[in-house]
């Protein structure tokens, strides 16, 4: 089962290596890992998408919490939450064939952020399944290049007590 794990960590050199190393050493499989500063420059948030059964996930959470620089760990499974992935994708569509592609982009509420005679660059945000659906729809037009940030997530409603 897919889990989104969020870890609040100290914003220090080596923390990412520590966490990534722990995942590798214990044989946990990561789908994506995103790191960014939080509202406090002393802390960063890592959002990790990982797959495994309940026992594996219990170990993932505990081993993550055990890393000294990790302050807090939470698993979004079973919790109402919002998740977002950001994608940039370059599609090779010459000007004369752009019409249907632009329709598609509208349906997915994406944005064209760069244009050249032979291609367009599209920005799309959303949960992973939406992004993946868009990728499938675009394939026939020719994907030249694709980059994704990986998932970040937050619970719905008021911020829970830490």
């Amino acid at each position: 089962m897919r889990h989104i794990i969020s870890a609040l960590v100290q914003n220090e050199p080596g923390v990412l290596a520590h966490v990534a190393g722990m995942f590798a050493a214990r044989g946990f499989n990561i789908d994506s890992l995103v790191v960014g500063e939080t509202e406090s420059p002393e802390q960063s948030r890592m959002t990790i998408v990982v797959r495994g059964d309940d026992r594996v996930l219990e170990q993932v959470r505990k081993q993550l919490a055990k890393v000294v620089a990790v302050i807090k760990v939470r698993d979004f499974s079973g919790v109402a939450h919002v998740e977002r992935d950001l994608m940039l994708v370059r599609l090779s569509v010459p000007a004369e064939r752009r019409g249907p592609v632009l329709d598609l982009i509208n349906i997915f509420r994406g944005r064209v952020v760069d244009v050249s005679p032979k291609s367009i660059l599209v920005q799309l945000t959303g949960p992973e399944d939406k992004i993946e659906a868009f990728i499938e729809c675009c394939r026939p037009y020719g994907i030249k290049e694709l980059a994704r940030t990986g998932v970040i997530a937050m619970t719905r409603g008021a911020k829970e007590k830490e």
């Binding site: 960590v9 100290q10 050199p13 080596g14 290596a17 520590h18 190393g21 722990m22 050493a25 026992r55 219990e58 170990q59 505990k62 081993q63 919490a65 055990k66 890393v67 000294v68 620089a69 990790v70 302050i71 807090k72």
Partner: protein, 572 residues
């Protein structure tokens, strides 16, 4: 374990600026460090210069691995944090085996390594290695200090992390320019680890559930690991076992938590544990694990481990709970705190049928070997060492057959008595660990029961024993083989002794070459006399016992089998 109250003053009374190296020395003093094991080198020159006035606290080993194991042996035998100091690059790399050994057995060690100048880091400078990168997975925590103002704080944090919670090794990497830099003003010494909060008190509801399960149980067993010893909770463990009237088995690292003369002792369990311990575990209705982690050498086939038992697991590390076996009642916290609460709630129960069953197993499957053999049986040597030292020695080991015979045939009486690499199984651990243990316990008899293979891995440390007048007694069970591997080849690989027959040097002559005393024992009748003589000899002694070359360790649970499927060997 309490955080130190005393703090170093990085500025003297006149307000003069101090170098990183001076802060280093003063912070060690504030932490109460009385012994540093290590080896000098280029980028740690400023630190060694600072130590010049207090060299009585420094033990120069002959290899950094020896220093790491010595710090480990010091920590295991004294309960204090072991400290090791090495230079950058090769010096730091040589620590890795020692750190991994300490990490697997949760031993509090703080390693300080020199690093090239911060401006050179990443440039492949002379003797540069990414030491925090290399050591990350074999330390509890590690950190590169980039600014002299952080040095004191990071050092205090290192000691704090090493000795609290589930203890473990911590590495602090100090670049040359940081130890040379001068700090003006007060250094920051306040520990700041927002992510580090070991849980020490057990949940009262869980403790109550554990006590109820124990009180209701008809066939309970307490399974003790090294965590009880690390938590200094052996006395409470003994109280609980005797108040609740429950038999106790221990892992290799848990030996000594209970006096083996006790009626309640089932001795060691696991792959080379006693039959009565393994049968009791397989038949018990409640297994109360304390400070143990259900390692594969202990459990055998996990699917059939303690199949009838409800499992209570007390551990300070939440990630140990339900890692290998599904636990029914987990209690996370310090073993001492939790055992203290359990002692109060435990009720005395007779459990006559259970103790009768255990007595039957003990009678039917006692530990033994061919006592009538004319050859020198290694088990006999261990028994004689035990008798000659009245069971009071601190005993270190290498890894292999001799380690198991030592665990099986020495009668362990007190915690911190056996110093052995359990988790990592590090050959060569015995002699340097004995040096560390002897340094930390000057008046006590320290014995290294070693193998001819293991001893050769770190024998250069004998010169450290000689130089520092550490009167360790090395008893080599010399069988001409890498015995444990040979045993597996005999049993599971058709006696094809691939690369396990070894030729050793004349150990006695070698010992004399080092300035120690050397002895050879080739006849059974000389064994006891030689041990007595070595104990009476001043300074380090190496005794080379030419033991039966193809003796095996019994009983044995073949890898992957269940505990009750143990093979008794010729004992049965």
């Amino acid at each position: 374990m309490m955080a130190r109250e005393k703090k170093a003053k990085a500025i003297d009374s006149k307000g003069k600026a101090r170098t990183g190296a001076a802060i280093f020395r003063q912070t060690l003093e504030a932490e109460g460090v009385d012994t540093i094991f290590g080896y000098p080198g280029g980028v740690v020159l400023p630190i060694f210069d600072e130590l010049y006035e207090s060299l009585d606290k420094f033990v120069l080993t002959r290899h950094e691995q020896g220093a790491a194991h010595a710090a480990d042996g010091y920590a295991r035998s004294t309960g204090k944090v072991g400290v090791v100091l090495a230079t950058s690059g090769p010096g730091a790399c040589n620590l890795i085996t020692g750190l991994a050994t300490a990490h697997m057995d949760s031993i509090p060690v703080v390693a300080f390594t020199g690093q090239v100048k911060t401006t050179l880091i990443g440039n492949d400078a002379f003797q540069e290695a990414d030491v925090t990168g290399i050591s990350r997975s074999v330390t509890k925590y590690n950190i590169l200090v980039k600014d002299v103002k952080d040095l004191a704080r990071v050092m205090h944090e290192a000691f704090h992390v090493a000795r609290t919670g589930r203890p473990g090794p911590v590495l602090v990497d100090i670049p040359f320019d940081v130890s040379m830099a001068e700090l003006n003003g007060e250094p920051d010494e306040q520990i700041r680890l927002p992510g580090y909060k070991p849980q020490l008190t057990g949940n009262p509801r869980q403790i109550k559930a554990a006590a109820e399960a124990l009180n209701a149980s008809k066939r309970p067993v307490i399974y003790v690991g090294g965590g009880v010893i690390l938590a200094n909770a052996s006395k409470l463990l003994r109280e609980l076992a005797s108040k609740a009237n429950v038999p106790v088995t221990t892992t290799l690292l848990g030996l000594g938590a209970l006096d083996q003369d006790s009626e309640l002792s089932l001795d060691m369990l696991g792959m080379h544990g006693t039959a009565y311990a393994n049968y009791a575990v397989q038949d018990c209705d409640l297994l109360l694990a304390v400070g143990a982690r259900f390692e594969d050498r202990v459990t055998g086939n996990l699917a059939e481990f303690a199949p009838k038992a409800k499992i209570v697991h007390i551990d300070v590390d939440p990630s140990s709970i339900s890692k290998n076996v599904k636990v029914d009642i987990p209690v996370v916290g310090d073993a001492g705190n939790i055992l203290e609460a359990l002692v109060k709630l435990a009720e005395h129960k007779g459990r006559k049928a259970w103790f009768e069953q255990i007595a039957k197993w003990k009678k039917q499957y006692p530990m033994g070997y061919d006592r009538k053999s004319s050859k020198i049986k290694p088990q006999y040597v261990v028994e004689q060492i035990c008798e000659a030292t009245k069971g009071q020695a601190i005993v270190t080991t290498g890894v292999g057959q001799h380690q198991m015979w030592t665990a099986q045939f020495y009668k362990w009486k007190f915690p911190r008595q056996i110093i052995s690499s359990g988790g990592l199984g590090t050959m060569g651990f015995g002699l340097p660990a004995a040096n560390g243990a002897q340094r930390g316990n000057p008046g006590k008899v320290v014995i290294d029961v070693d193998g001819d293979g293991s001893f050769c891995m770190t024998m250069q440390e004998l010169i450290t024993s000689v130089n520092y007048s550490l009167p360790v007694k090395v008893m080599i069970m010399n069988n001409g083989y890498l015995g444990m591997v040979r045993q597996w080849q005999e049993l599971f690989f058709g006696k094809r002794y691939s690369a396990t027959k070894i030729k050793s040097p004349d150990f006695a002559a070698l010992a004399r070459g080092f300035g120690a005393t050397g002895m050879v024992v080739q006849d059974r009748s000389e064994v006891r006399e030689a041990i007595e003589q070595s104990l009476a000899t001043e300074g380090p002694v190496v005794v080379d016992f030419h033991v039966d070359p193809e003796e095996n360790v019994w009983p044995m649970v073949p890898a992957g089998k269940s505990l009750h499927e143990m093979k008794m060997g010729p004992l049965a």
